[in-house]
Symmetry: C2
Subunit: 213 residues, 2 copies
DNA sequence: TAGATTGTTAATCGATTAACAATC
DNA sequence: TAGATTGTTAATCGATTAACAATC
């Protein structure tokens, strides 16, 4: 039910603003923040801060600035993070394990980190049934049932490249609209599904360009 | 000794082209590839492929296309990946461990993956001296000496957020120009140093925007 | 040669920045 | 009210796409 299509460049900055506001309210006891201050801390221009926020409403007061608590709450709602978002992770290798622990730690330690890994999947019979941070590893054929039962909204793919597309297909078939893929391969999904790939090899190979001199 | 400043958007696609060429030469036995075919496989337009490559020279032949092997080698040289690039990783927690194993596996399994983790650092006395995939974990004060000895050109930061800036400073002081930061914080470095941050929390929070409906 | 595809220039598109009237 | 800062429009910047002459 979104009115206009918000560009991905804009959406990408919203969690950053949220983080800045959290940090700000912890260390500064002013209830207000200007686009200048918010921009400085987020590393973007004040103009862009105002333009980004204006896509979603008029959150500030001229001459005054933005109410920190109010703005943070609005961003949380915009990002669907005002309620817990259930996450599934497929591929419990060392990377999958590390990411599960990382997300759990933030979920436990931080007040407003509402992303929760509630299901783990792997096809290795030696792993199925094992318990990670209180979650039992299931086989992939349990995906549809678990997604339905836990109302899972996001999937993390940490399987080897050759399996990634098949796993993405399973997640899509189960109704998941947001996927974070760590396998070094481009996965194809219907256009109403959003995939972001974090490709460590490509990142490192790209950085190598700057490594000399 | 670069002539003109190549935009980051261009550099980011080069490893992708390299990957496509590797895949192509494994599965197709034609020695030539057109910008159309390369673009299709990389998910970019043929125009952009030609424009990207033209920044670095005239690699193709009109009416014919690009020589796959030749182009791959040129890209490898451009990215400084024609020789082994030594990498240091700081922060041997579960994420650091997983990434170390991941990079080692690719280094061992793939012909042309020339990124090699050759040093690990951590401040935990219980970890120092331990051995991961044949590499001994050192304390952070060994960074300058190890960087010099192994000619380390790239650093991966996988420490908790509060230590990330200090670690980046150490790497910079040791002469490293390329840093991949996994801590959820913006690290500041001199402008001749390149930092890329992979911030899992921000990525997931961003994806949450698309997770509903 | 005729057909195909590059390298490159011009046109388009989209995102960011600058400017300023509105208004708290 | 006077000063400050938003919301928004216009200008700028940069990246991508389209078009085409050059040439293999």
């Amino acid at each position: 039910m979104r009115m206009k299509k918000i560009s991905d460049a804009v959406v990408r900055r919203l969690p950053l603003y949220m983080r800045v506001l959290d940090e700000y309210s912890k260390t500064v006891d002013t209830p207000l923040i200007s686009s200048q201050e918010l921009g400085d801390r987020a590393g973007v221009s004040p103009s862009l801060v105002r333009k980004d926020l204006a896509w979603f409403g008029e959150f500030g007061k001229q001459g005054v600035g933005y109410d920190v608590e109010f703005l943070r709450n609005r961003l949380q709602v915009i990002l669907n993070l005002d309620r817990e978002v259930a996450v599934a992770l497929v591929g419990v290798g060392s990377l999958g394990l590390a990411l599960t622990r990382y997300v759990h730690r933030r979920y436990n330690d931080e007040d407003h980190f509402n992303l929760h890994v509630v299901a783990l999947f792997d096809n290795d019979p030696n792993k199925i049934g094992a318990n990670v941070d209180g979650i039992v590893i299931d086989s992939l054929d349990k995906i549809p049932e678990r997604v339905r039962r836990h109302d899972i909204r996001m999937g993390l793919i940490t399987v080897p490249a050759p399996s990634a597309q098949a796993v993405a297909d399973l997640l899509v078939a189960a109704g998941i609209k947001a996927i974070l893929n760590f396998a070094p391969i481009k996965v194809t999904v219907p256009e109403d599904v959003h995939v972001t790939s974090t490709d460590l090899s490509l990142e490192m190979q790209r950085l190598a360009y700057y490594s000399s001199q």
